[in-house]
């Protein structure tokens, strides 16, 4: 069972703010899922490789050439709710 501090730690790593009620609720639900997936331990996976790709593709390369994008820079900038300044999105100051 994950305790409240563990849930808060995971939420912080995931950059999600939780209310105290959410911490309690998710702690229980997350624990039940994590308990359930422990059944994987039953499977003998000695000498079995992990799956990384299912159709056998390897090192897919594309031609190195400039292709036209469907959207313009100003269209992309319009997707942000934050102020746009000199063609960039302005965020909260990081360096003080």
């Amino acid at each position: 069972m994950l305790n409240d501090d563990q849930v808060r730690h995971v939420a912080k790593l995931a950059r999600i703010k939780l209310t105290d009620e959410e911490v309690k609720k998710f702690g229980k639900q997350l624990s039940s899922v994590l308990d359930y997936v422990n059944i994987l331990a039953e499977v003998d996976t000695k000498d079995v490789a992990e799956t990384s790709q299912v159709t056998g593709l390897k090192n897919v390369m594309d031609k190195d050439e400039v292709i036209k994008s469907q959207s313009t820079k100003s269209e992309l900038l319009k997707c942000s709710e934050l102020p746009v300044d000199s063609g960039q999105v302005r965020v909260i100051r990081v360096v003080k």
């Binding site: 849930v7 790593l13 899922v33 499977v43 159709t55 593709l57 992309l76």
Partner: protein, 478 residues
Amino acid sequence: MGKLNELTISQAANGLKEKKFSSVDLLKDCLAAIEDKNGELNAFVTVDEEGAMKTAAAVDKKIAAGEVLPVLAGIPCGVKDLICTKGVRTTCCSPILKDFVPPYDATVIEKLKAQDMVMIGKTNLDEFACGGSSEHSCFGPTKNPFDLKRVAGGSSGGSAAAVTANMCMYTLGTDTGGSIRLPASFCGNYGMKVTYGRVSRSGVNAMASSWDTVGHFTKNTEDIATVLQAIAGKDRRDLTTPDREVPDYSKFLGQSVKGMKIGLPKQYFGEGVQKEIAEAVMKKVAILEKAGAEVMEVDLPSTKYAVAVYYVSIPAELSANLERFDGIRYGKKPLSDPKDLMDFYCEARGEGFGDEIKRRIMIGTYVLSAGYYDAYYKKAQKVRTVIINEFAQAFKKVDVMIGPVSPIPPFKIGEFMDDPLAMYMADALTIPVNAAGVPALACPAGKDKDGLPIGLQIIAPQFEEGRCIQVGDFLEKN
């Protein structure tokens, strides 16, 4: 003239070709069905009447000018609201994207637009395609057209209900763990889950990149083949699409099943699968056997581990994919006044994501964190290999496998909302197919004693969608 919205794609295309009616007529009947039924079903979350009217009128002009058009030209289509449509709001049914209007089209939309599609609107889903019931949508649940107290299935529930309610001729969806087949089964229509990589996912919001596929819902098998023909193939913008020929899928229609080897995975008819559902599927299998198909039992012993693999692997990949939603480049910024950038991220995501997304992101973050990575993530990816090998072994003996889509009938709205694990079990028979990356077609297999639809799935080896179509079409006609 009957109601045009009840036509299939091929019937509608023929009518347009023979000038029996126009694309605008077709669209008007579909819009009337939406007007009439969407209030109770909640299948569409956005209807682009103006855009659809414009494209339909343009198609009619081309037809009047004597142009020969592709079969999908002028046919109304609904699109799962996870797939980007230029200039039309695409929300993923999440609060964080509620007002997002994409500046580009997904590749599937580009391909269908090249065929003069009429995009009628965007359909409801579980937030970011996470769920099996379409209840986890910020627009509220989609209801089952057969019983409004029950779910339409998910995550592509809106797309499934829209086809069943004749709001359009076909819809696009996505299937990561059953999100096309489960709602197709619950709503009694046809749903194609393609081979991993067969259809481009560029412009489709990523959930779990090694599992996600784009597919479609229709009213019959012939239409499944038509839409697949239009959307399958290599795409430079999605490098998981192999450079592999797309066969002529219409060639698989009207074929016999004589001599075909059909496997019944014994785990798909065993414990946890309702008797009435297993029996309905077996009735359909008997039709194939009578027609000369060879039916045999096959063994997929690790089926019972697939849900556990899924609920490690999917949250892991999803937690990485959804990192992009930070309220900065797109999506909702926080309503509160964050004190620094860290606070900004946490507030934007805390406010913008629903419960199921928060749960999955946290599970993913947990299983990928130092100390747990080997025990959870690596182990799950190894068990996935075991599942893949079992499919490969089975397909050495048989051409296709058949089983139920869902072990249970459509459940009541709210029934599993506080018990995520119980809801996950509805996907127990669909998830293994995604794990192996193989295609499967969900087809109707009758109704249960309460009049609720039962669905079966025809599973084929990778890139053999044609076999699914062959068997599905035979069952439909016999």
